[in-house]
Every structure is written in C-alpha cells, then in structure tokens.
C-alpha cells in the first residue's frame, strides 16, 4: 500500500515497529532490574535510559562499572558498542539529510537498531517517497519503541530491588548479551568477527584496566572487515570463472 500523506507515513512507521515493543519492553525492564541490583535508584536508571537511549551500550557500561573498570575504559567500550550508530546515521543521510536541521537533530537522538532497520527497508523499497513522509515514517518507528524502552527501565528498577540476591541475577547480564549476539551474526564475516573477538578476549583479560576488551574488540572488528573483503574477492573470482 502506497503512503499518501505525511500523517499516514507516521502511522505506518508506528504500525511497522509494533512487533519491536516485545523486545524493547523486556530489555528495558531487564536493564532496570540489573541497574537496581547494581545499586542505582529508580530516577538514575530512568535518566540513564532516557539520556543514553542505547540498550547494548548501557548494559556494557553497567557491567564495567560493577567491575570497577576505569572511567575512560567504560566510556570507550560502551561508545564502541554504539559505533554502529554512526554507520546508521551515515546510511540514513541520503534519505533524511535534506530535512531541516531541527528535524535532523531530533532524528539523530532516535537512531537505534529498530528505527534504522525499518526505515532503510522502507526508503529502499519506495524510493519515490517524499522527504516529509520519510521523516514522518522515521519518527513513527520510534512512537512505541522509545516509550516502551524508557518505561520498561523505570518499572524494572522499581521491581529490581525486591529480587532476592540468591537468585543469581549476576549471571543474567552475560546471558542477555549472549541472547543479543546470536541474531547479530548475519554473515560469515560477522561470525569471524565474533570468533576472533572471543578468542582474543580470554588471554587479553590478563591486561590491566580492562584494556583487554578494547584490544579484543579491535581484533574482532579487523577480522570482520578482512573476512568481508576476502569473501567479496572469492565471489568475484567464482563469478569470473563461470
């Protein structure tokens, strides 16, 4: 169905994003619970989610704060997890770059995995979509997801302090990360990046100040990029051979 007005573009984005509410709410809730476990009070957990608005980076920062990692390592690691946002921003620019500055400034805040994934598919399948409708669609994709994430965090933080220590909530965070990794491994290059990062992280854990995380992370990124290049060359070769 073609979109006819700016308003309907917003609501299409809103509807398309609806399934993600089942991801944003439990994840927000979990972040709230773990934040409370780490000693954060409800307004702190709420402010964290509202200001940073990036799940995986928030989990990373929370984990490292509990490990008493130095501030600089916490910031670098969590921002590294968020580097993909720069890629999303770059990839959305051809579609949203001509919007007024205030709209772009607001849109930047709402660049997350879900809004990016939905928008880029929409913009690529309907290239004739006018700018105003693109902007409306993009904001629509965050209409439910953003509130679900922030409210989920606050509720989780409220409940979190009542969960008994003996339940072993310590291990929830690694498990949450593991659940996130699986679906991210879309190509052999992603798997290579993940595998090299894991292999490097174990010996690198001996490095001081949690530097091992940065070293292993960079090793994984380079491995992923190199694997991608190699795979592209193989594809070219096999096509040339035909």
């Amino acid at each position: 169905m073609a979109i006819t007005t700016t308003k309907s573009a917003f609501w299409k984005g809103f509807r398309d994003s609806a399934p993600f509410i089942f991801m944003a709410s439990p994840f927000g809730f979990l972040f709230g619970v773990l934040a409370a476990e780490a000693g954060l009070i409800v307004p702190e957990a709420f402010a964290f989610s509202l200001a940073v608005f990036a799940g995986a980076a928030q989990f990373t920062a929370l984990q490292l704060m509990q490990e008493n990692a130095p501030l600089i390592i916490i910031l670098i690691s969590a921002l590294a997890v968020n580097l993909r946002m720069a890629m999303y921003s770059a990839s959305l620019t051809p579609y949203l770059g001509d919007a007024p500055m205030w709209q772009r400034a607001l849109a930047a805040y709402f660049v997350v995995d879900q809004s990016y994934a939905l928008s880029i598919v929409q913009f690529e399948t309907e290239p004739e979509m006018p700018l105003a409708q693109r902007v409306a669609y993009f904001f629509g994709t965050n209409g439910i997801v953003a509130p679900a994430w922030v409210i989920g965090t606050a509720l989780g933080a409220l409940v979190g302090t009542r969960i008994p220590e003996s339940w072993g909530v310590d291990f929830v965070l690694p498990l949450a990360f593991l659940a996130m990794i699986g679906p991210m491994l879309r190509t052999p290059a992603h798997i290579a990046a993940c595998f090299v990062a894991v292999a490097a992280s174990l010996p690198a854990a001996a490095l001081p100040y949690n530097l091992g995380l940065i070293v292993a992370g960079i090793a994984g990124m380079v491995a992923g990029a190199q694997a991608e290049l190699w795979l592209e060359r193989q594809k070219v070769k096999s096509e040339a051979a035909k």
Binding site: E44, M65, T93, G182, S201
Partner: protein, 109 residues
C-alpha cells in the same frame, strides 16, 4: 553487589549521552551528502559483534556467581542461550532460554 559511586555513575551517563548523540548526529547532521569512507564503514559494521562477545566471553568462562572458576553448569546455560538466539534469530527466544537456564541453575544449586 557493589554500589556504584554517584559521581562515576553520572559522569558515565552524561559522557555516554553526549558521545552516543555525537555518533548518531555525526553524519545525519554534519556530513550532509558526503559519504563515509568505505574502509571505515566496513569496520563499523563489526563493532557490536566484536565488542559484545569480547565482553561476554570472560564472564562466561570465569563466571562471577561461581567465584570466577570455570563452571560447567554456567557454561552450559550460556551455550544454550547463545544457540537458541542464533538458531531462531530471535533475541527473545534466546532471552527466554537464558531465563530458563538460570532457573535450572538456581534449582540445582
């Protein structure tokens, strides 16, 4: 579990808020139509799949609840969570499997 000192917490929150916003704004706001270099895009694609596994691997191999010793049960729970997420491509299925694994760990302990 340890409580995080307020000045550290707020520095992290504000630092991450500004940093994350800068990353998101960088291209959409500043770069306009200019393209990001191909080699940089290629590395950015793999940041999350490198950093998160690097963070989680030591937590699984030396789990805090087992006092930092390799624990077969924790390892199995982690493997089940990852496998469920990978095979179904669904974070929630992975998370559900993780919850179930934790419950089993708790009952077994």
């Amino acid at each position: 579990m340890s409580s995080i000192p307020a000045p550290l917490l707020w520095t992290v929150i504000i630092g991450l808020a500004l940093g994350s916003y800068a990353l998101r704004f960088a291209f959409i706001g500043f770069m306009g139509g200019r393209a990001i270099p191909e080699w940089l895009m290629r590395h950015l694609r793999y940041t999350a799949v490198a950093i998160i596994p690097a963070l989680v691997a030591p937590l699984v191999v030396w789990p805090a609840p087992a006092g930092g010793e390799l624990s077969l049960m924790h390892f199995a729970a982690a493997a089940a969570t990852f496998a469920a997420g990978y095979l179904t491509r669904n974070v929630l299925v992975g998370l559900g499997t993780g919850g179930l694994s934790l419950l089993l760990l708790y009952l077994a302990a």
